[in-house]
Amino acid sequence: MSERQPDMQERRILGTELLWSFGVGVLIAATLSIIVLTALTMGINPPSNVERADPKTLHLSGEFAEHNLGTSVAADGSVTARIIATQFMFVPHCIAVPEGRPVTLRLAAPDVIHGILITGTNVNTMVVPGFVAQVHTQFTRSGDLLMPCHEYCGLGHSEMWATVQVLPEGDFRPDGNGRVSCAQR
């Protein structure tokens, strides 16, 4: 084989690799474009809320006081559920939320790292001591869902779960001071 031909072949090889890289670039652009699109149009983000809260004095705070936990409907109709994730239990154990309306879940941990997901939904966040975790979502199906702690938090981790009752619009009725608790079934 003469010396000239290999150079031409080597350039052809690099040509095919560049073509392949261009194809890969197109695929990566497709992957990222749907992310950017839904972020711009529907506000889809990973849950982030850099709000500091001292875990050592959380039980003395106003927002995460024992009586203020659970779901409450504010004057402007916005629904917020405040939940404490503590070693080996969620307080309250059952959280009522409306179907088809924006809901904000605010969670805090007074001791170690916890994490939540609600089965079948996009609600998912880590609950890190030192911060208030916040998830804005909208539940699309009614029914009882499971909210386990999905991050290792100690020997009782497997027993740490709560129930989320997604109530149809009619059944979601706040009481006098705007609180909604689970229907006893």
């Binding site: 010396e3 000239r4 950017v36 972020a39 711009l40 506000g43 983000n45 849950p47 982030s48 809320n49 850099v50 709000e51 050592k56 004095t57 039980h59 003395l60 705070s61 106003g62 927002e63 006081a65 024992e66 009586h67 203020n68 504010a74 916005s78 917020t80 405040r82 404490i84 503590t86 070693q87 080996f88 239990m89 307080v91 154990h93 924006p102 904000t104 605010r106 007074p110 001791d111 170690v112 208030v132 916040q134 804005h136 100690g154 020997l155 009782g156 497997s158 027993e159 740490m160 779960w161």
Partner: protein, 276 residues
């Protein structure tokens, strides 16, 4: 054919240096532009949040999401216990002096809790080998009224913080009388399973997950081994009824309410026998 200029690797390098830097930094800039500027500002506009706030939220300088208003919350605190586990509280506990503690015990506590921590009546808890943090928390709750007991409230009010640490250190040092109990024989397997595995169906975590020393559970969780059987059953019943409510975030109240009387009795016997 080979051009000498090409043979020197550094000359070959020039395009690589340029293209690599342009490529990598270009991608990085594109990412920063999109992530920190374009997406937050566009999201903020649809949620009524001004551009500057949206960008600060995207960077984590302000709390909240660039795409959602931040819920407000105003409610008065209603703590069930004033104990705060700060480093200096832990420091005080660590410096607890058993000798000074013994002097105060002999003067005050011995009447009910005994010198070695073995209580004189089933209504009073045994304190031998109890964790210092557990003693500290209960005494602190008596002092602040989070826990009420006609005898203990006044006594606790009389103790200063360092003295609480000394008393706690003294009783913590008192040995367990029966460190390795012989057999589990007469205890039903369901009780042992409740202690070791808890009951996932009733959302009850294993007792050992918090109450076994070294479990990594809450600091103030008391050590239950060799505790009075009647005292344990009574406390569980008081938690279940809500009469005793100094457990932070109602953990014991919720668990006790789910236990059947047979389980309350079984657990009390399990721990009274000295198991951990």
């Amino acid at each position: 054919m080979t051009d000498p200029r090409l043979s020197d690797p550094h000359v070959l390098d020039q395009p690589w240096r340029v293209w690599a830097s342009v490529g990598v930094l270009g991608i990085l800039l594109f990412g920063v532009l999109l992530g920190v500027l374009i997406i937050p500002v566009v999201q903020g506009r649809s949620a009524g949040i001004d551009a500057f706030t949206a960008i600060c939220r995207a960077l984590g300088i302000l709390p909240g999401s660039p795409a959602q208003p931040q819920p407000a919350s105003v409610s008065p605190p209603t703590p069930v216990s004033q104990v705060i586990w700060t480093p200096d509280v832990l420091q005080i506990l660590a410096r607890g002096n058993p000798e000074r503690g013994r002097a105060k015990v002999v003067e005050v506590c011995v009447a009910c809790h005994g010198e070695q921590g073995i209580s004189v009546s089933p209504d009073y808890p045994n304190l031998n080998g109890q964790s210092g943090a557990a003693i500290y928390k209960q005494l602190h709750d008596y002092r602040t009224g989070s826990r009420v007991n006609q005898l203990m409230t006044d006594l606790a009010k009389a103790l200063e913080e360092p003295m609480i640490a000394d008393v706690a250190a003294y009783y913590a040092g008192q040995p367990k009388r029966n460190p390795n109990p012989a057999t589990l024989g007469e205890l039903p397997a369901s009780i042992v399973r409740l202690v070791e595995l808890g009951d996932p169906s009733r959302n009850i975590p294993p007792c050992a997950a918090c109450h076994r020393p070294g479990s990594g559970g809450p600091i103030e969780a008391p050590i239950l081994s060799e505790q009075g059987r009647e005292y344990l059953a009574q406390q569980l019943r008081m938690y279940a009824s809500g009469e005793r409510r100094n457990d932070v975030y109602a953990r014991m109240r919720v668990i006790a309410a789910r236990l059947t009387p047979a389980e309350i009795d079984g657990l009390s016997r399990y721990y009274n026998a000295g198991f951990r």
